[in-house]
């Protein structure tokens, strides 16, 4: 097992109200090379879990272990290794990229920080290779991200995370802003990386069709609790909890006949 999260709890201060508890006793494991999906409605705590896994915030109870490292208390070389081997791609392709950096600087930053390529030329070559891999034009290396569209920016963010060859990639809604054809490329790319590099992927998404496609294991969250977890087949073919069932029923189907029928049926149901 690569990472384990044991009974973590997390509250946010909500002054003057008492702190709001948003995670209750969450336990989950990530194995080497597996893709695991975190799903649940907005506010269910998916991003909070992702942030805990990345040590961006600290749970107030429970433990997180990554490959022998106590993540919550890690320092020094342990923390550096953790920061290199666990990478992230965020939800918001606009907020997460520094507008003052060129694409080359953005993607190459990790190589520089972690001293992975000694020369500027080698870094540049790696950046170019990465850009091509995620469907960007290496000729755009010297541009700033301002004039890129949402989808292009998200590909930059993914290239930035993958360039240092992490072992876990935590993705928070990484394809939400992408159009379908690029989304398919990015998902195939993630899947490809997962297989080739034996990369574990923690995939937070509200698009359940995408999750179904990419993830072998699914964790369903509701109000900060894990309500159901299981293999792809268990969750999608035979969901046990009504909450999971309602999530699945709301997924739009790209077929006007099926899609309309599903929505009409659901509206009838909720009306009754």
């Amino acid at each position: 097992m690569l990472m384990s999260i044991d009974s973590i709890a997390k509250s946010y201060n909500a002054f003057p109200n008492p702190p709001a508890k948003v995670l209750h006793d969450v336990t989950l494991k990530v194995d080497t090379g597996e893709a695991i999906g975190l799903v649940g409605e907005s506010g269910s705590g998916k991003s909070t879990i992702a942030k805990c896994m990345l040590a961006l915030i600290r749970p107030e109870a429970g433990a997180i272990t990554y490959d022998g490292i106590d993540v919550i208390h890690a320092k020094g070389e342990d923390l550096r290794r953790f920061r290199r081997e666990v990478q992230m791609v965020f939800q918001d392709p606009y907020g997460s990229l520094n507008p003052r950096m060129t694409v080359e600087e953005l993607i190459g930053e990790g190589l520089l920080i972690h001293k992975l390529e000694p020369t500027a030329a080698a870094r540049r070559a790696r950046v170019a290779e990465m850009m091509e891999m995620v469907g960007l034009n290496p000729n755009d290396m010297d541009r700033y991200t301002r004039s890129f569209s949402g989808g292009q920016r998200q590909r930059i963010a993914i290239a930035r995370a993958l360039v240092i060859r992490p072992r876990i990639l935590v993705c928070d809604e990484p394809v939400a802003a992408l159009d379908v054809s690029v989304q398919a490329q990015v998902i195939n790319l993630l899947q490809d990386m997962q297989r080739k590099l034996n990369l574990a992927i923690v995939f937070v998404a509200h698009d359940l069709a995408v999750v179904r496609h990419l993830c072998e294991r699914i964790v369903v969250l509701h109000k900060g609790k894990v309500v159901e977890q299981g293999t792809r087949e268990q969750i999608f073919d035979n969901p046990q909890m009504p909450y999971t069932q309602s999530l699945l029923a709301a997924v739009p189907v790209p077929d006007p006949v099926v899609g309309r029928a599903r929505r009409a049926a659901r509206r009838l149901e909720t009306a009754n």
Binding site: Q91, G135, A177, S181, A184, H206, P254
Partner: protein, 348 residues
């Protein structure tokens, strides 16, 4: 299955209703840095939207969907626009800034993807919804009353109490309702929704779509819905327009486009969607990437990625022509004789 249809005015698929907006040869040029030169992002787009019609605009990221939509409202100060945007008999591109300002919100309104960036955290919900009206000189009490009515209509429960709440006290779905209320309070006739549900989870997305459905039916509101989610298109829109590299390449009834997409790009898009009711090992992905606006290839802008291209494709730009009930910009459908010599890139 194809009904005989008299050849309509070729600038647009004639909606079965009276047109509300007719866009004719719209181009949008954006300045390039400090150089003084510019780049053509939207490259001659024609379409119309009927009164009360729900039209989806889909297409690759960067294809110019947002800039097209924003051009209808003249939101980008730096953009140079040409062509015509006829709204109910007025050419919006010729209006003075002041008149255009007045029209925003009252005739055409827009909602964006991220409700939070649109809301002022320091202002109450009631004041924000009423503001659109206040700007137009509606009195305070009346504006508040109408704000309440629209929040009510949009299913914000206990709306009266919540007029005095602040945005952070609302969930994502509720915030999106507030943003919708801000757009709808001025009683626009066209609502442009730029990926309004992309940031929402499926159940909230579903509610917002139901809401848009209801409001559009009740008010006879036309909606231009920008999205990359073909599932949303299938469930919500009557007509879909597909954009590629600054042009519309296909435009038709949702049912027929999904059942039988004509343009190879549309075919690829539909094939690339992962479906909850289907298993696939690898998703189909259209190879390559769309061309940057500064380096559009000759001929059909899709030809470097098209698996059906033939000789003419890298020479002549296909025009958007009426094909049955749809419009399609592809040499396969332009009715001319052609010897098909597909250049299969694997040489098979």
């Amino acid at each position: 299955m194809r009904t005989v249809h008299p050849m309509p005015d070729q600038s647009a698929v004639t909606p079965l209703r009276q047109p509300l907006v007719t866009v004719d040869k719209l181009t949008v040029d954006m300045p390039l840095g400090r150089s003084g030169s510019s780049v053509r992002i939207v490259d001659g787009v024609d379409f119309s939207i009927g009164v009360g019609e729900r039209v989806a605009l889909v297409g690759e990221s960067g294809s110019g969907k947002s800039l097209t939509a924003r051009a209808l409202m003249r939101l980008d100060r730096l953009a140079r626009l040409s062509g015509r945007v006829d709204f109910d008999g007025t050419d919006l591109l010729k209006l003075s800034d002041r008149d255009m300002g007045r029209l925003r919100g009252s005739s055409i309104a827009m909602v964006f993807q991220d409700p939070m960036s649109f809301l002022d955290p320091l202002m109450t919900i009631g004041d924000q919804v009423a503001e659109t009206l206040r700007i137009r000189g509606v009195g305070k009490a009346e504006a508040r009353k109408r704000a309440l009515a629209v929040l009510d209509e949009l299913g914000v429960d206990r709306a009266a109490e919540r007029l005095d709440a602040y945005p952070h006290e609302f969930s994502g779905g509720m915030r999106q309702r507030v943003v919708l209320a801000m757009a709808l309070v001025g009683e626009p006739r066209l609502l442009i929704a730029d990926e309004p549900t992309t940031a929402l989870d499926v159940r909230v997305q579903d509610q917002v779509l139901d809401l848009l459905d209801d409001v559009s039916a009740r008010r006879g509101l036309a909606v231009l819905f920008i999205t990359h989610d073909l599932g949303v298109v299938a469930g919500f829109a009557e007509r879909v327009m597909v954009m590629y590299s600054g042009r519309i390449v296909e435009d038709g009834e949702v049912a027929s486009v999904f059942a039988k997409p004509s343009h190879p790009y549309t075919q690829g898009l539909i094939k690339a969607v992962p479906r909850i009711d289907q298993d696939l090992n690898t998703l189909y992905a259209i190879p390559g990437a769309p061309p940057p606006p500064l380096a559009r290839p000759n001929g059909c802008p899709f030809h470097p990625r098209c698996d059906q291209r033939f000789e003419r494709c890298d020479k002549d730009l296909p025009a958007l022509l009426q094909v049955g009930l749809s419009r399609v910009a592809c040499h396969l459908h332009d009715g001319q004789q052609h010897d098909r010599h597909p250049h299969d890139r694997k040489g098979a």
